[in-house]
Symmetry: C2
Subunit: 354 residues, 2 copies
Amino acid sequence: MSKYWSEITKSIEPYVCGEQPKDKKYIKLNTNESPYPPSPKVLEAIKNAANGDLRLYPDPDCDELRSTIAEYYNLNKDEIFIGNGSDEVLAFSFLTFFNTNETIVFPDISYSFYPVYAGLYNLKYRLAKLQEDFSIPISEFIGKNGGVVIPNPNAPTGRYLDVDSIKKILNCNSNKVVIIDEAYIDFGGDSVVELIKDYDNLLVIQTLSKSRSLAGIRVGFAMGNKELIQGLNRVKNSFNSYTIDRVAASAAMAAIKDEDYFKQCVEKIIKTRERIVKKLNSLGFNVIPSEANFIFITHKNYAANDLFIKLREKSVLVRYFNKEKINNYLRVSIGSDEEMDFFIEKFQEIIDEV
Amino acid sequence: MSKYWSEITKSIEPYVCGEQPKDKKYIKLNTNESPYPPSPKVLEAIKNAANGDLRLYPDPDCDELRSTIAEYYNLNKDEIFIGNGSDEVLAFSFLTFFNTNETIVFPDISYSFYPVYAGLYNLKYRLAKLQEDFSIPISEFIGKNGGVVIPNPNAPTGRYLDVDSIKKILNCNSNKVVIIDEAYIDFGGDSVVELIKDYDNLLVIQTLSKSRSLAGIRVGFAMGNKELIQGLNRVKNSFNSYTIDRVAASAAMAAIKDEDYFKQCVEKIIKTRERIVKKLNSLGFNVIPSEANFIFITHKNYAANDLFIKLREKSVLVRYFNKEKINNYLRVSIGSDEEMDFFIEKFQEIIDEV
């Protein structure tokens, strides 16, 4: 604590992201990155953007990139907002749409950044109780809310909520914004982007960090009715005019345009996931059904925290959350086939050592 | 106004940045960009960063870049904070150090983003009255303040405040954070970075956008006592873990390391400024003494707004602020010698047409 910190700075509990260790080489299955590099066209676009124009500010409105995404999703440019990663888009969204005197709702097991945003902006929240199997009960989102946030598929569980269920939640919260955080939607779920034309309270957030292999470049975006997007722009332009640099904008455009490469990567990851789920089941794991690029697993005979520590010793990083309800689970990102085989091999070594 | 906007979203007045027009080619002297491209070593670094590692998140703490800046300024790594442009660093700083129940102070003529941040975070502020010649009176910053923010050199005036004056302001506000926004310090002023070891209430903010020709890449940084930096990290980690992408971090490191190129560019800009100031004086302009990469000018015979409009018609963009006290001034960025000669030529055409 420092006497120079504001009351807010003293009170917040910052988010802690997955380890990015530097002590040795790990098989990194802890932060849901893609095992595949970005499209060669993205790397080419970055090289082309390395020119004298970098002396100039970027376009503060990201016009070209918004047009590219709008075309991809059959929306208008003014229905798109770009941010410095989907975390920034979420941070702006909490401030743009939620009020301190109302209570927002999100699942009790979900992206652990949500309560952090709430703390930063002094927002009240209620935690919607998930079912035993981690499925999301619609009933928890009905009633008087200050807004709703749902990751779909949910993290860290991987559980997917179908479009009809989200429609029901949108209908029950027509005066408040419902944020569907689709960071992982490309790995098997159906996006609710098409509902934007019918629901002016729907904000869909996506990212290029996962399915488009660009965690290192920081681009996320929101899609919604143009009034919602105008609100986001008001807040963003009261915080930082130029959030997306010239190189990132070029990389993002190239990534969205290379549909073939995107599909190939996603298909490979899904195929690996299905194979590994079967394998883990045969080894006695319970695997929560996942439509994401990670799986949430627990084993009746081995404590998750022990496995986490032993895997780490064997150079495999997975994510463990020391939190009620999920403290006997591990979240494992889907890596390449080789990485996943290495993970299984190390798990079997651990069993043999017991 | 939308019913979905929060009270804050409704109340804020967003910042409006200098035009980035797309209708035709302009001589751009309106946003204080460098007329010179980034160092060739920066462009090389960007090309090298265009590789498969972009699938991975960047280092959330920007360790290597902080070390590079720390070494450059003879500070410790934990005395450096990196942000997505100095605007983001300022946005975090207002939230980290200032409280809603206290009154912060900044000059009545200064960077017009400061009152916007105050609006975003619901902070009270008092405007310190500048002298007639736009110099900053120390007396205005003495007394009970919730914090102090001063751009040095000031924008849009270009006026520089010497180190001793800033020492006095630091001494008079020892319980509150004093932010010295040194976006333009490299063009003739002395940085107060060396005072950090003596003043734990001093936060110095700089950017790579101006003197290092990297407006297009978005990297700014704060330097101060490690407790201040810890506070900034708490807020940043409650907003967005990964604010600096892999490519931007590489570019920034290369820029800081290429001291020769940096010095050459800054010297050329200063030389052009001195030459143009003389020329403008001879044409009847009053030029406020500037230690920045822009000048603030007024002419007794020609209204600034008229000149602004006519220059724009002749493809020269400068900045005009329709604001009390300065509504007969133009802020003109220092371009290349050719650009500045074009500007003078167009001004003379305008005179001849009257």
